[in-house]
Every structure is written in structure tokens, then in C-alpha cells.
């Protein structure tokens, strides 16, 4: 069909935004786990801060993509505000994510560097355990919603049938948690390297836990991707064209190579190998999960890009 159009308006910037929003949102949930289920405040604080920074950088990319970044405030205060717009809903979610995230981070009992420590210790909620836990839960919910919203933003659009499917938010959520987990894995390794030798085994254990989680999340992601692609080979025509673009067309190197192989299959094998050698009684280093983590992050970014670039639409059907 000659009358298929491919959307090209939302490109790399929005892809980065969707990716970072997911990764930061997912990372916050993992931070909560380490804070309030594992009582490892150091890892929790640094992961949560990293997640916050990631989301904030994401928002900056969204702003950079605007034609009038200086008027972004209109999203909240326009006299004609549209509360049903996903951009308004998403901005509200992001705002609450940043708010709860900051409250959570500053509430955790943690030895902050000198000057910062003095300020934070003055905060009335600093070190309050139940407040920490409550804010952690709220920040996690907001993190989940941030990740979910990045998929819904695209999923509600009817212009391209390949986008308008519940599978899209599900895929983005799975990818968000996967990238969030490996993000914390990298934070964990950075802390572990600088930690005294006596503490290293703890970070090694965390590395294995996070690697195992990621392997499960990758399996789910692969299942979603397979189902997504497979079902749309049965039409509609526009979605078939999207599938063609991704699997054998111009986006195939990015999707089949970058996302499926490099970003999912190889990391899964690396993580599986790590788990396997550990189950054999070995004490493997975190090397394999770290390589996997880097690949997963690159793959997650490419995923957002190829989904945006594969929105095919038809404006009219030939009459006969």
C-alpha cells in the first residue's frame, strides 16, 4: 500500500525522556526495597538519588523537545487546562514522583557529606523510620506510575494501530523495571568497589539478587515482545507494516539487533550464566551482570526509539 505514513515528529529526545522516566521510576521501587526491606540505607539513598536525577534529566529532554520550553508551566496553569491530557496527567505524576522521592531520600538515616548533612539533619522528618517507609511507598507508587505513564502516553493514541494496544504500556513497564534494576546494580557495584573488603560480600550478594530479578524481567519482556509482534502479523495492515519495519525493514538492525539480541537475549544469557555458576557453588564476580546491565540500558533506550519510529498510519483506504 502506498498510502502508509510513518510518524517522525517524536524522535530521539522523546525516546530518551520515555526511557529515563521508566528507568528512574523502576529504580525508585528497587531503592525502596533496599531501604525498607533490607535496611541498607547507603545503597537505598544513592539509588534513590540516582533515580531522581535520571527522571529529572528525562524531564529536561522533554522540555528540550518543546517549541516553547519557557512556557512549560502552562501545562499546570493554563486557563484552558485539559485535565484529561496524558501530558497533564504525566506531569502531575512526575511532580509527585520528584516530591515524594525527595522526601524519601532526605528522610533516610544516612551520613551525608558535611554541609549537606547539616541541612538535611535539620529537616523534621530526617531519620523518622515510619515517615521514611511511608514516603518510600509513595515514591515507589509514583515511580511505577511514571513508568506506566510513559507507555500510556503512546498507547492511547489511535493514529497508529501498532501503538494503540495494552501491550505497549506493559512492555514499557517491564522494560522500566528491568532498566531500573540494572541501574541499581551499577550503583551497587560502584559502592561495592569503594567499600572496605569486609563488606564486599554483601554487595556481591545484592549483585546476584538484582541479576536474578533482571533475568526474570527480561524473560517477561521477551514474552511480551514476541506476543506483541506475533499478534500484529495478523493485521491490521498498518500494524503489519510496523512489524515489517521492525523485523525485516529499516528498523530491523535496531530492533532485532539492538533490542532483542543485544539488549535482551545476550544480557539474559550473561545473567543466567552468573546464576548458574553460583548455583554450582562458585563465587563469581559481578562482571557478567555488569556487562548485562550496560547492554540492557542501551537496549532499553533503543526500544523507546524504535517504538516511536514504527508508528505507521493510513489516512485513507482506496475505494476499491
Amino acid at each position: 500500500m502506498m498510502n502508509l505514513l510513518i510518524q517522525h515528529i517524536w524522535g530521539v529526545y522523546i525516546a530518551i525522556y520515555l526511557f529515563l522516566g521508566g528507568m528512574g521510576g523502576g529504580g525508585m521501587v528497587v531503592s525502596y526495597y533496599f531501604c525498607c526491606r533490607r535496611n541498607d540505607n547507603k545503597l537505598a539513598v544513592i539509588s534513590a538519588i540516582t533515580s531522581l536525577i535520571i527522571v529529572i534529566i528525562g524531564v529536561l529532554f522533554l522540555m528540550l523537545d518543546l517549541e516553547k520550553p519557557e512556557k512549560f508551566y502552562l501545562v499546570f496553569v493554563s486557563p484552558h487546562l485539559n485535565p484529561h491530557s496524558m501530558i497533564f496527567i504525566g506531569s502531575s505524576i512526575l511532580t509527585s514522583f520528584i516530591t515524594f522521592g525527595l522526601l524519601f531520600v532526605t528522610a533516610i538515616e544516612f551520613k551525608w557529606p558535611s554541609f549537606l548533612g547539616k541541612i538535611i539533619s535539620l529537616l523534621p522528618w530526617y531519620g523518622n523510620r515510619s515517615f521514611t517507609s511511608a514516603m518510600g511507598i509513595l515514591a515507589s507508587i509514583a515511580g511505577f506510575l511514571t513508568a506506566f505513564y510513559t507507555g500510556v502516553l503512546i498507547g492511547v493514541l489511535k493514529s497508529a494501530p501498532f501503538w494503540h494496544t495494552p501491550a505497549l504500556p506493559l512492555l514499557f513497564v517491564a522494560s522500566a523495571f528491568s532498566t531500573g534494576v540494572v541501574g541499581v546494580l551499577l550503583v551497587n557495584e560502584t559502592i561495592g568497589i569503594m567499600a572496605p573488603k569486609s563488606e564486599r560480600h554483601k554487595y556481591q550478594e545484592y549483585c546476584s539478587i538484582l541479576g536474578e530479578w533482571d533475568a526474570i524481567l527480561i524473560s517477561i519482556e521477551l514474552l511480551i515482545i514476541f506476543t506483541y509482534i506475533f499478534l500484529f502479523t495478523y493485521g491490521p495492515e498498518e500494524a503489519e507494516a510496523s512489524v515489517y519495519l521492525l523485523t525485516t525493514g529499516s528498523l530491523a538492525p535496531w530492533f532485532m539487533g539492538g533490542v532483542v539480541t543485544m539488549g535482551l537475549a545476550i544480557p539474559f544469557l550473561l545473567e543466567y550464566w552468573h546464576i548458574f555458576s553460583e548455583s554450582r557453588g562458585g563465587k563469581p564476580s559481578c562482571a557478567l551482570p555488569i556487562i548485562a546491565a550496560i547492554l540492557v540500558i542501551i537496549g532499553g533506550l533503543i526500544l523507546r526509539y524504535v517504538v516511536l519510529s514504527s508508528g505507521v498510519m493510513t489516512i485513507f483506504l482506496p475505494p476499491s
Binding site: 502506498m2 498510502n3 505514513l5 510518524q7 515528529i9 517524536w10 522533554l62 523537545d65 518543546l66 517549541e67 516553547k68 520550553p69 512556557k71 512549560f72 502552562l74 501545562v75 493554563s78 486557563p79 484552558h80 487546562l81 485539559n82 484529561h84 491530557s85 496524558m86 501530558i87 497533564f88 506531569s91 502516553l153 492511547v156 493514541l157 489511535k158 493514529s159 508508528g311 498510519m313 493510513t314 489516512i315 485513507f316 483506504l317 482506496p318 475505494p319 476499491s320
Partner: protein
């Protein structure tokens, strides 16, 4: 109440592009492919010797249920009291969500305005003064018919209510107010 709409008779479109030129001039749109308020893509169907050629002029469909308005966070995109879909340029932050959401590819970024722009049915500059949109007035073949869909005496009302003029992608449920007559003129020997 008025509800403006348009019927495009594909059998009368020559593909000359006068509508594009008139619109560009009238509305001072960017002189750039893909940044026009109306365009006239050509389609070729079938295989030799049964080939058919069709020009399908396009513009904003001024949907009754416009997806672009639904997604706009600031209310910059809106449908006015006469059913025309417009942009408040000063409210538009240029997030481009509407451009991505429009299933008719009717919107573009106007870098000079730092805002999204689109066909206005020439609402402010012509229609509100009792004139027809520039593309309608300039159409050589008389393929574009403009009028009030609520007025039973208007030509557009009759063409639509006779079932002759149909929407594009009715399945999307956007209820476009631009309709098409698909009956095509045939050349000799067909």
C-alpha cells in the same frame, strides 16, 4: 448554530495545486513541504492496463471528536463554537502530542510561531467575514464545496445526507467534517 464542513469531490480534482498555493499565500504558511495546511497527494491503484490515478486533497478534517484537542494539555488546541478546530498559538507549548495524535497528519510545527499550526478553514480571515476558505475559492475544478452542515439547504448538507460524501477512516470514530466523494471520472477506453 453553525457547523462548518467541506465536501471534496475527487472526480473534479485535477491535482493542479491551486488550493495549496492559495492557502500558502492567504495564510502565509512556511514555504516547505510537509508544513502546509493542505496538500494534494497522488495515488495510483491497480496494475497495467487497469491503472487508476487519484488525487486526494487533504486538510484538517475538523473532526467533531478531535483527537488533537483531546491530547492537548494546555487547551491550545480547541474546537470553536462553529465546530472549527483551531490553535491558540500563545497557549501552545509545542509538545507536538497533537501532531502525533492526529490520524490525518494535518498538523505541523511552525518554527516561526514556535507553535503547532494547521488548517483553520480560513475561519478568522475569511469565513467569519462571509467569504469562503482560500482553497475553496481557488479550486479550478470546483472540487471543494464549503458550507454549513446544519443548514438543510446547503450543498454540503445535501451531499453528506445523501450518503454520497463519506468520511476518511470512519472506523476511527473521530467524525470528520470534511467528506469525500469517491466516484472517479474515467478516461475513454476504460
Amino acid at each position: 448554530m453553525t457547523k462548518y464542513g467541506m465536501v471534496i469531490d475527487l472526480g473534479s480534482c485535477l491535482g493542479c495545486g491551486a488550493c495549496i498555493a492559495a492557502c500558502d499565500f492567504e495564510n502565509q504558511t512556511p514555504w516547505e513541504e510537509g508544513k502546509r495546511r493542505t496538500h494534494v497527494p497522488e495515488f495510483i491503484f491497480g496494475e497495467y492496463p487497469n491503472v487508476e490515478r487519484l488525487f486526494v486533497p487533504r486538510l484538517c478534517m475538523h473532526c467533531e471528536d478531535p483527537p488533537c484537542v483531546a491530547v492537548c494539555p494546555t487547551g491550545a488546541s480547541y474546537k470553536n463554537e462553529d465546530g472549527v478546530v483551531l490553535v491558540r498559538y500563545d497557549m501552545c507549548i509545542g509538545c507536538k502530542y497533537c501532531v502525533v495524535a492526529c490520524p490525518y497528519n494535518a498538523r505541523y510545527v511552525d518554527e516561526r510561531k514556535h507553535a503547532i499550526d494547521k488548517c483553520t478553514f480560513c475561519y478568522n480571515n475569511r469565513v467569519s467575514q462571509g467569504r469562503e476558505p482560500a482553497c475553496v475559492e481557488s479550486c479550478v475544478g470546483g472540487a471543494r464545496i464549503f458550507g454549513d452542515l446544519e443548514d438543510p439547504n446547503s450543498e454540503v448538507y445535501k451531499l453528506i445526507h445523501s450518503g454520497e460524501a463519506v468520511p476518511l477512516r470512519a472506523d476511527l470514530g473521530t467524525h470528520p467534517k470534511v467528506r469525500y466523494i469517491f466516484r472517479r471520472k474515467k478516461r475513454e477506453g476504460d
